[in-house]
């Protein structure tokens, strides 16, 4: 399957379909194509975006995001920060669970304890590690939770003590893993607590039904604290993984909104981009190559620089990705307020050749063949093939390609059994630390064998610096080491978030860096008088 001819045929089919898109009138039901079947709806267990979108509708943390991705008050109506930036005091509003019982600060303490419980094995538990003793508790070194920096002063006041000033802490609090969970229900039903009829939440929507691999139906929560601002009574989130199935449903008016960028048929992106319902926006995620620096010849930074300098990212984006991506010369994508990432190495083939000659391989003579590893996907393969050709032409280096199925690839990368490997990273919050923290020596996400004393020191200094400007300057300096001097990674492009929806029909959706689009803000625009009545 997947032969060229079938793709060509499919392209032809979609081009005809493009002309036929039309949409039904507003309704009380929003049909969203949400991506793969959610692996769970337990906010403290989930890891993916499709799960996250549903969980955000079912649970609300201390803070929330608005449609532009800004952090806004959620269950906390306001928060006070100590002068050293280390103690946060959240003042909770009066709100309740969907069964009517009050939501208290104690609920948050107990829920955060559950998330950190080693037995929960929550994969995102490290987001709590900014809190005092949270890491020790999560790793089982500390048994007494009262020593972790979270306590309820009274039923409406929650105090959090952090290791260092963490200016993005309010943004972390909007993440699903920081949501309160109804512990009585969890205890009563065990693994089944997230099933319809049992789940109790505190978010804008309630779980009405959940048919495996088909759809999740959400209905408005009448007890949500700002219930009057939620305008769509019903939401159906369809589990669809195939881009063409998603597009067919959208094109025939059976779905209102396609949210997952994995659900956009890439082979006719250039045509799709011209359509009024195509929306693309910068996304806080980077596509890069990881370099294993633990063995020659790639342990020489000059060679790593030469590899980076010879790649023309603009051309890759123009000819291969075509979804509005931007060329990457840094690890952190631009757009984080107050932070301009350093400009790393651009396209300079002459300098690349000079560096390679300095490293002892003039014209690539005597350079051992390299292997480039990627996880099987059409686009990864196209990019790898292009880069293989570039390195051969510009540097005279021969590269062989190796593709591995996802889990095998992860195994190879995490055990450093590769030379150069395709990678990507999605920012969890709007701060450079979400990217730069990966390349600390002890980070489990480093996977390059690289470490640098100056880099460690700068990041450590940044974590204790209160003044935001100085803190970001330190991070900037650290990133410059990463992308200008050392290059254990080779940034290629910054992703874009892509959505399909008719702007004349749906409102409350805006482009934002984290690609978060809360359901509670979405609404159907009233039909204007000039519209035709035909569906």
């Amino acid at each position: 399957m997947g032969s060229r001819s079938s793709w060509t045929l499919a392209c032809g089919i979609f081009l005809v379909a493009l002309a036929n898109c039309s949409h039904p009138p507003p309704s009380d039901r929003l049909i969203v194509i949400n991506g793969p079947e959610p692996e769970s709806l337990d906010p403290q267990v989930i890891t993916g975006q499709p799960e996250g979108r549903i969980c955000k509708a079912l649970f609300e943390g201390l803070t929330a995001e608005d449609k532009e991705g800004n952090v806004v008050p959620g269950i906390a109506r306001e928060w006070l920060i100590s002068p050293d930036g280390r103690i946060y005091r959240f003042l909770l509003r009066e709100s309740c669970w969907s069964d009517g019982s009050p939501l208290t600060a104690q609920d948050f303490v107990a829920s955060w304890q559950r998330a950190l419980e080693p037995r929960m094995a929550a994969k995102y538990a490290d987001l709590f590690y900014f809190i005092e003793n949270a890491e020790a508790y999560n790793r089982g070194h500390l048994r007494d939770f009262s020593q972790v920096g979270v306590r309820a002063i009274d039923s409406r006041t929650l105090e959090v003590r952090l290791i260092g000033p963490t200016p993005f802490f309010p943004s972390l609090c909007s993440q699903s893993i920081f949501s309160p969970v109804p512990l009585a229900v969890v205890r009563k039903h065990g693994d089944d607590w997230i099933k319809p009829g049992k789940l109790i939440g505190n978010g804008p929507y309630l779980l009405d039904s959940w048919q495996i691999n088909d759809r999740i139906v959400l209905r408005k929560n009448p007890r949500y604290w700002r219930e009057e601002t939620v305008r769509i009574p019903w939401i159906e989130a369809l589990a669809i993984t195939r881009a063409s199935a998603a597009f067919n449903l959208f094109a025939s008016g059976k779905a209102d909104l396609v949210l997952d960028k994995g659900l956009i048929p890439t082979f006719f992106l250039s045509e799709l981009r011209k359509q009024p319902y195509f929306h693309s926006a910068p996304f806080l995620a980077t596509y890069f190559y990881r370099i294993n620096v633990s063995a020659p010849p790639l342990n020489d930074p000059r060679i790593r620089k030469a590899l980076a300098l010879s790649v023309d990212r603009e051309r890759l984006i123009r000819t291969i990705t075509r979804g509005g991506e931007r060329p990457a010369h840094s690890l952190t994508p631009p757009g984080i307020p107050g932070y301009t990432p350093p400009t790393g190495l651009g396209f300079d083939p002459d300098r690349a050749r000079t560096l390679l000659a300095e490293a002892g391989f003039p014209g690539g003579r005597g350079f051992p063949p390299l292997t480039l590893l990627y996880n099987s996907s059409e686009q990864n393969e196209q990019i790898a093939t292009e880069i293989q050709a570039i390195w051969q032409q510009v540097l005279g280096i021969s590269v062989s390609l190796r593709n591995q199925e996802w889990k095998v690839y992860l195994n190879s990368v995490q055990s450093l059994s590769y030379q150069i490997a395709r990678s990507s990273w999605v920012g969890d919050y709007e701060d450079p630390f979400t990217f730069l923290g990966c390349f600390l020596r002890k980070s489990g996400n480093n996977n390059t064998g690289w470490s640098d004393g100056r880099y460690e020191k700068l990041l450590a200094e940044a974590t204790v610096t209160v003044a935001p400007k100085e803190r970001l300057a330190l991070l900037h300096e650290a990133e410059a080491i990463l992308v200008k001097e050392e290059l254990p990674i080779l940034p290629i492009y910054f992703y874009s978030g892509i959505m399909l929806y008719d702007e004349a029909r749906l409102g409350g959706i805006a482009a934002n860096l984290l690609d978060k689009h809360p359901f509670r803000e979405i609404y159907f625009r009233p039909r204007s008088a000039g519209d035709s009545a035909n569906p």
Binding site: I13, V45, A121, D126, D191, I212, V408, Q414, N445
Partner: protein, 305 residues
């Protein structure tokens, strides 16, 4: 008959056990862990996960404890869909795959037999040629080409039928037809060939000579013996339609069991893969048994032994 049934059913037990064993070890020995992801997991958390899903200890211990759970009817928790048991996933999705496969089965047999009989009766005439050409087309157009074409024409162009989803007869029509077409072609060719062998036989000529209505000759005296190869084919056909519906399920966004098979393998969800494989194997054994029983009922010369 009863002895035959008992023997076949007891014979199925070691087969199913073998299926579970092979699947379990293949998935467990494949590189990659069910818990790995783009983000690293601290070793302590990995240990907790392995303990929760009983994937700690030696491979042999994991295997024996799993087999003992399966014998108690517990297919365990899926490692990917963290709050779901494999029993629950199969329970919700198998009926959908069965409904889709069953409709396609009926369509394949219905259209296939009708077309085959028609072609045999009009041997070497226009109708015969037409059926032959259609069969060739049905056999050679793969479903991943046929299904998008059908969606384009019937859903996006003429807006007659929905392009996907599940629920009623309208949603079922396109996917079931696309799934059935290649098999209908095989059935039609089998029927035609079989009927062409039967129709010139002496007892058919006798039946005509004594003036029996031609419908009786065709369907009672002709089709019944001619259907033996079709019945033999129906067992594997039913199994094929159930296991082969994956592509169709994906194209039409139908939430059947097929996708979990692939998803399970890709995410190294050993219990999901083993559970789904077990169900598929049981169905395959069951349908083959039914086909044997049907053959014996149709042709008294077939001995059930």
């Amino acid at each position: 008959m009863l002895v035959f049934l008992l023997r076949r059913l007891t014979g199925a037990i070691p087969v199913l056990l073998g299926v579970i064993t092979i699947t379990f070890f293949l998935v467990r020995l494949a590189p990659g862990s069910p818990f790995s992801g783009e983000r690293a997991i601290p070793p302590a958390i990995l240990q907790e996960l392995e303990a929760r899903y009983k994937l700690n200890g030696s491979l042999w211990e994991q295997y024996t404890s799993y087999v003992s759970d399966v014998l108690h009817g517990d297919l365990r928790l899926s490692t990917r869909y963290r709050n779901r048991t494999v029993n629950e996933i199969i329970g919700q999705t198998l009926p959908i795959s069965l409904a889709l496969g069953g409709s396609a089965f009926a369509l394949a047999l219905g259209f296939g037999i009708a077309a085959g009989v028609w072609a045999a009766v009009r041997h070497n005439r226009m109708a015969d040629r037409l059926v032959q050409v259609l069969c060739l087309g049905g056999l050679s157009i793969p479903s991943f080409v046929l299904a998008p074409l059908a969606v384009l024409l019937f859903s996006l162009q003429w807006r007659l039928l929905p392009p996907g989803g599940w629920g009623g007869f309208r949603e079922l029509l396109l996917p079931a037809s696309c799934l059935a077409l290649p098999y209908a072609a095989v059935v039609a060719r089998l029927t035609r060939a079989s009927m062409l062998e039967i129709l010139p036989m002496d007892y058919i000529r006798t039946a005509r000579a004594k003036g029996l209505p031609s419908a009786t000759i065709l369907f009672i005296h002709g089709l019944k013996p001619a259907s033996l190869p079709i019945v033999a084919y129906a067992g594997p056909l039913a199994a094929n339609l159930l296991t082969g519906s994956l592509v169709i399920e994906e194209i039409f966004g139908i939430h059947g069991m097929g996708s979990f098979f692939v998803e399970g393998v890709l995410s190294r969800d050993v219990f999901l893969v083993a559970g789904v494989t077990l169900v598929y194997s049981a169905l395959l054994i069951g349908f083959n048994l039914l086909a044997d029983l049907a053959s014996a009922w149709l042709d008294k010369r077939v001995q059930l032994s």
